[in-house]
């Protein structure tokens, strides 16, 4: 694993803006933090005295909790604000809410929000770092960082590896962030699922698109399933969950089309019996729970880099003053 580390950003809002070296830097620190997980005393003093605010304007369990645990493991103080409990429901603008949080002396904001680009918007407004925990269908950078970290643990270097992403690509920030990350790390990407959920424009990112599941699984090293959102079945994108399952669900038979050492991933939450058969989700090929564990160490790395490396960078760039 690379030992030269690079980080040039105040915020972590997208994978698109990161370089390969920066992605590897996150992985490098995640691996270091992972070693601390086995200790009896799990807490590190790294971010003692820092305050992290989780601003979650859209429901989330695992991402929110993973960020909370990550911040606490690094000894930061962490407060979570959810939409129902925020002034946003009283009509306060996002700018005003964010400026209030900054004025409360927070050192970093982790935000999940329904609006694409909202994390970039916040990053431009605020002096403190912003980490994007999912902005609409745009990006979910820490998910892609933990996914690629998990893949590298299992497969080593990802250059030339084949990754199939299966399901609802159109509405998926997880797909977009993983596509950017995997391209930068040299992997080949195939997108598979119903045509209504995979715009042809994804080819412009260098992805292959197929609607033939067997072809998509045959030579894959990784198959990444995406959650099919129940709320969309009533819309025009596909006829029913039953039909989705008939065409694209990963079951025992279809899993046999995979190479024996291929791994199965899912960002969660899993709809057992829809995207994947229940037994497969718990099989040896599945790394779904490792993803969750790695979600903590990757986010520790993200918090660490945004709160310390970004400061070093700022200090290095600041004009000399005496």
């Amino acid at each position: 694993m690379s030992t030269t580390t690079t980080w040039r950003h105040k915020d972590l809002t997208s994978i698109e803006r990161l370089t390969r070296e920066e992605i590897e830097t996150v992985h490098h620190y995640a691996a270091q933090f992972k070693q601390s997980l086995g200790r009896t005393q799990k807490k590190l003093p790294t971010l003692r005295g820092k305050t992290v605010i989780n601003l979650f304007i859209e429901p989330s369990t695992r991402t929110r909790v993973a960020f909370e645990i990550a911040a606490k493991r690094l000894s930061a103080d962490v407060t979570t604000i959810e939409e129902a409990a925020s002034s946003l429901v009283k009509g306060e603008s996002l700018r005003d809410t964010a400026e209030v949080i900054q004025a409360l002396n927070a050192d970093l904001i982790v935000m999940r929000h329904r609006s694409p680009g909202s994390a970039d918007y916040l990053g431009k407004i605020l002096n403190i770092p912003v980490i994007n925990a999912g902005d609409g269908a745009h990006e979910h950078p820490t998910q892609a960082l933990l996914d690629t970290f998990t893949m590298k643990e299992r497969l080593g270097d990802l250059a030339g590896r084949k990754v199939t992403i299966l399901g609802d690509i159109l509405f998926s920030r997880v797909a977009r962030s993983n596509i950017w990350a995997l391209k930068k790390l040299g992997a080949h990407i195939t997108l598979c699922g119903p045509a209504t959920l995979i715009p042809e424009s994804f080819r412009s990112l260098g992805c292959e698109i197929t609607h033939n599941l067997r072809a998509a699984l045959a030579d894959a090293d990784v198959v990444m399933l995406l959650r099919i959102q129940h709320e969309r079945q009533a819309s025009t994108h596909f006829p029913s969950l039953g039909e989705y399952k008939a065409l694209y669900s990963l079951n025992e038979e279809r899993a046999s089309w995979l190479k024996p050492d291929a791994i199965i991933m899912h960002p969660g939450p899993v709809n057992r019996g829809v995207e994947i058969d229940s037994a497969l989700a718990d099989s040896k090929q599945s790394v779904i729970l490792e993803q969750v564990t790695n979600g903590i160490v990757t986010r520790m790395a993200a918090l660490f880099l945004c709160l310390t490396k970004a400061n070093e960078l700022n200090n290095a760039q600041a004009p000399a003053q005496s």
């Binding site: 698109e16 603008s93 996002l94 700018r95 929000h113 609006s115 694409p116 680009g117 909202s118 970039d120 918007y121 902005d135 609409g136 269908a137 745009h138 990006e139 920030r173 977009r176 715009p199 424009s201 994804f202 412009s204 990112l205």
Partner: protein, 434 residues
């Protein structure tokens, strides 16, 4: 007696095929062919050497937000923005609050215009009651209240039967129907053009098909009813082609191009800046080229701005939550010069025709020409002067302009309304009380 003598400019009056260095004279607010020796001595002289002298520009698509949304703009500020942009005649859209679907609201707008507007202002009325697309507005009463066109601009009548009746009825009254072409079923939640950029940005896409389908519908309705339907703010290649073909078949349709669709593509949305969010949205490079070409070959016979003011606090938010629309009157001439003239596509007379004579003709306005006895509305500009767009200097109340900070070529030096100077290149000259 007020006498104006504009000297030594390159006079371009497309309506009279005039393009020569010379003088323009006005007496008591009207153009005259010459001045007597005595009048010459009394005249206020403007030296237009090295500049272009053309009819005051005509914009048949602006939103002045009065009544009801005067925090964004009002007739006073909007008419001053027009003057600063070289426009002397503007047509305002009826999506005010309340909407202009009744003669009382039209009367209110006309009264305010008399008191507050420094340019000629003509109102439009709606096609349907409340712009709801459910029942015909009282188009006959609106005509009597002197609307110059009817439109549900900002919305599009989805019910084809109702649209058919609306155009038949307006046709009987000899009113042009202006349509905002948008199939709502294809644009639910859409924030920008559907394509590579909407995919990358994760924003819900607005397919070109949503516009093309309604343009095709309108062509069919214009053909079967004989009515004139004007397609507002055409932004797609398919739309331009449909209109071009329909005209070849002799169907009474017309089309309108916007400076922003001819200048930017959807890539401009990449930083989620809501000043690049409008309806219809910025499209692909191919669409942009088609709009430019449409203006060149006449498929789109007029240029208008869709000047749509919103305050900074309304626009300063998440992209998908921001309102649609950008302002454009104070930048339109320079942008059009960049897109069509400095690029070599169009000679000045052809470009100016699409900003003066053609839009005036489209809605039957007494404007857009320097013919003797015409109202002396004149725009004088330097086509080459560079200036940087500074939103703090706008006459408009709003600053939601996509050209903010950009340097453009082409500066309005004087705007003259009915023989009176109302803009001197730097500031508004308040008209004398009369």
């Amino acid at each position: 007696m007020s006498i104006l003598w504009i000297k030594n400019g390159r006079v371009i009056d497309p309506a009279n095929q005039r393009d020569a260095v010379g003088d323009v004279f006005a007496v008591d607010g009207r153009i005259v062919a010459e001045l007597s020796a005595e009048q010459q001595q009394q005249a206020e002289v403007i030296d237009a050497g090295g500049q272009i002298v053309c009819p005051g520009l005509v914009d048949v698509h602006v939103h002045l937000r009065e009544p009801g949304q005067t925090h964004k703009e009002d007739i006073r500020s909007g008419s001053r923005a027009a003057a600063a942009g070289g426009f002397t005649t503007i047509v305002c859209m009826p999506n005010t609050s309340p909407v202009a679907d009744n003669s009382g609201t039209i009367e209110r707008i006309r009264n305010s215009a008399k008191a507050n507007s420094i340019v000629h202002l003509y109102p439009t009325g709606t096609l349907t009651v409340g712009m709801k697309g459910e029942a015909l507005a009282p188009i006959g009463s609106l005509k009597q209240a002197k609307v110059v066109a009817v439109t549900d601009d900002g919305k599009c009548v989805q019910n084809n039967e109702l649209m058919r009746r609306a155009v038949e009825y307006a046709h009987m009254l000899d009113l042009v129907v202006m349509d905002h072409c948008q199939d709502d079923t294809l644009t639910k939640g859409a924030a920008m053009n559907e394509g590579e950029w909407s995919m990358r940005l994760g924003l819900t896409g607005w397919p070109a098909a949503a516009e093309d389908i309604i343009i095709a519908r309108n062509i069919v309705l214009a053909e079967t009813t004989g009515a004139h339907i004007h397609m507002q703010h055409v932004s797609t290649k398919g739309g331009v082609e449909l209109i071009r073909e329909a005209k070849k078949r002799g169907i009474r349709v017309s089309g309108e191009a916007m400076p922003h669709h001819a200048f930017f593509t959807d890539e401009a949305c990449k930083d989620y800046n809501p000043n690049f969010k409008m309806n219809p949205p910025l499209r692909t490079a191919e669409d942009r080229e088609a709009v430019i070409q449409g203006v060149i070959d006449g498929a789109l016979e007029i240029i208008a701005t869709d000047h749509a003011p919103h305050t900074d606090y309304e626009k300063d938010c998440e992209f998908d939550k921001a309102p649609f629309g950008v302002i454009g009157m104070e930048t339109a001439l320079a942008v059009c010069l960049e897109v069509w003239h400095h690029s070599g596509f169009l000679e000045l007379p052809a470009l100016l025709q699409r900003m003066t004579e053609q839009p005036a003709k489209l809605v039957g306005l007494p404007a857009g020409t320097l013919s003797p006895d015409a109202v002396a509305d004149v725009c004088i500009f330097d086509p080459n002067e560079r200036w940087t767009v500074d939103p703090l200097k706008f006459q408009s109340k709003s600053m939601n302009c996509p050209w903010n900070g950009m340097t453009l070529r082409g500066r309005v030096k004087h705007t003259i309304r009915a023989g009176e100077r109302i803009w001197d290149g730097e500031q508004i000259l308040e008209p004398s009380a009369s």
